[in-house]
């Protein structure tokens, strides 16, 4: 497990010539939205300050869990399987601060035009705070406009992004891309912008926002297929699906979670989700990601932990010191039950190990 040398990205004020535009098509904002009740950037909760890493695919587990907050520990009266699981789950869904921290995570980024792109005058870099949970092509309209202003129309093709020679897959959440490629480097994250020579073998095309929406919804559906045999997502109306997407696109936490909450529920008589939707990404391998069936509850009735998950599907990631995961902006101890981790990280892919 890599330790990050720098703590969670602090928000730096952008230089005067650039604008730190809000992500997506939401209203212009001067900076990071403040989670309820606190003006300071939230610190990672729980024990040690492990590196924060995260990535997400909607509906998937990050491999991270928030430790339970301070306050009275919940003591279930009877240790039945369903009671235990649903109580823990209920508790974490109530912990909105955790959910907000995940949602509002940002990465300060500097976009620079590739030197070989042909421009009519010099292109200044563009600074932006990127939301970890979103997608590059969804939140970079202003970046595109900024560079296109200094280019001729005929030089402009589909935009694509690259970091130190690696094309960045727009269909991976931004937080995941950062954690996989750049988590050990100093901020801001320096991304190179291209308008030519689209790398067909490495990247999917993204000709419109509809493509992003389709990908996002497919992830949500795949996750629900694992959690609920698609029952919850299929029972929803089209407008509910749309609300999930609009919540993401417009950076509206409440709007998103009003619907996502239903995807995170399960009736107490069922012992948790059928399978935990997760993906484990590793920077050290050519394999795209690990995704397997994994039940939240072991045969003995106890909740599987993140440590159990890793041992089962990715044992090579476990070091002698044990493992700690990083989810969106927080570290999660390996002993944390998967179902809890999953809940507070909502859609998350697993994280680089």
């Amino acid at each position: 497990m890599r330790q990050r040398s720098t703590p969670r990205p602090a928000r730096r004020p952008p230089p005067p010539s650039a604008s730190a535009a809000a992500p997506g098509s939401g209203p212009e904002r001067g900076g990071r939205p403040k989670p309820g009740g606190s003006g300071a950037a939230p610190e990672p909760r729980g024990r040690a300050a492990h590196a924060r890493v995260g990535g997400a695919a909607p509906g998937f587990l990050p491999g991270a869990a928030a430790p339970a907050r301070g306050g009275p520990q919940f003591q279930p009266k009877k240790r039945t399987r369903s009671t235990c699981a649903s109580l823990l789950l209920g508790r974490m869904t109530d912990d909105k601060d955790v959910l907000r921290d995940v949602w509002f995570g940002r990465i300060p980024t500097c976009f620079t035009l590739y030197q070989d792109e042909i421009t009519e005058r010099e292109a200044e870099p563009y600074y932006l705070l990127l939301p970890r949970i979103s997608y590059l092509t969804l939140v970079t309209d202003k970046v595109k406009k900024h560079f296109q202003k200094v280019m001729r129309q005929e030089e402009i093709n589909e935009i694509w992004f690259e970091y130190e020679g690696t094309p960045l897959k727009w269909h991976y959440p931004i937080g995941l891309l950062f954690d996989l490629h750049a988590s050990n480097t100093a901020l801001p994250w320096n991304i190179t912008v291209h308008f030519k020579n689209f790398p067909e073998k490495d990247l999917l095309h993204c000709h419109s926002k509809d493509v992003i929406e389709a990908h996002f919804m497919a992830c949500i559906k795949e996750a629900d297929a694992l959690k609920h045999k698609s029952q919850v997502i299929n029972e929803m109306q089209k407008k509910d699906h749309k609300q999930l997407w609009m919540g993401l696109q417009n950076d509206k936490f409440e709007q998103f979670w009003a619907i996502n909450r239903k995807l995170m529920e399960y009736p107490p008589e069922d012992n948790g989700f059928r399978y935990i939707p997760f993906r484990i990404y590793q920077a050290t391998t050519e394999r795209p990601f690990i995704q397997k069936l994994f039940r939240p509850i072991a045969s003995g009735g106890q909740l599987h932990t993140l440590g159990d998950l890793l041992k089962d599907v990715c044992p090579s990631a476990i070091t002698p010191e044990g493992v700690s995961y990083l989810g969106f902006n927080r570290a999660f101890p390996a002993a944390q039950p998967c179902v809890v981790a999953f809940d507070c990280s909502s859609y998350t892919p697993s994280v680089p190990v």
């Binding site: 389709a214 919804m217 497919a218 795949e222 297929a225 698609s230 069936l293």
Partner: protein, 142 residues
């Protein structure tokens, strides 16, 4: 075409003769005795995947709506083949234009990403030893 349980050990390389003429397939099983196998996945220069990844999985392709039905529905596919690779193969098989769209669905509920590997989908959504995929020229399940 016979669909017995046997799997071809090795993917045939290149075009098959009369099979290709009839079905448009780029690959075909040896005379009916083994399951049809897709041409080897990966472009030139790709390394041979090790161990498990070389084992093939069974994929059953089902047409949706008025999409043409494939004569051969059951295929043995390398785990590392992507959905995009499968789409290209089906399009070629059905003699569709490259510009025509083809959508693939798992569990009749979601469309996996083009770069997703069939092996992973089989692990998570396979049943009775095979992965059932529905294909359609138009969007079927959103």
């Amino acid at each position: 075409m016979a669909e017995d349980g046997e799997q071809a050990a090795v993917s045939p390389q290149g075009e098959a003769g009369e099979e290709a003429a009839e079905t448009g397939a780029a690959a075909a099983a040896a005379a009916g005795s083994a399951e049809p196998v897709l041409p080897a996945a990966g472009s030139p220069g790709t390394e041979e995947p090790a161990g498990d990844a070389r084992k093939k999985i069974d994929v059953l392709l089902k047409a949706v709506g008025d999409t043409p039905i494939m004569r051969t529905k059951k295929w043995a596919v390398e785990r590392t083949r992507t959905i995009q690779g499968l789409v290209d193969f089906i399009k070629k098989f059905l003699k569709l234009m490259a510009s025509e769209q083809l959508f693939i669905y798992v569990n009749q509920s979601f469309a996996p990403s083009p770069d997703q590997e069939v092996g992973t989908l089989y692990e998570c959504f396979g049943s009775d030893g095979k992965l059932v995929l529905h294909y359609c020229k138009t969007q079927a399940w959103g």
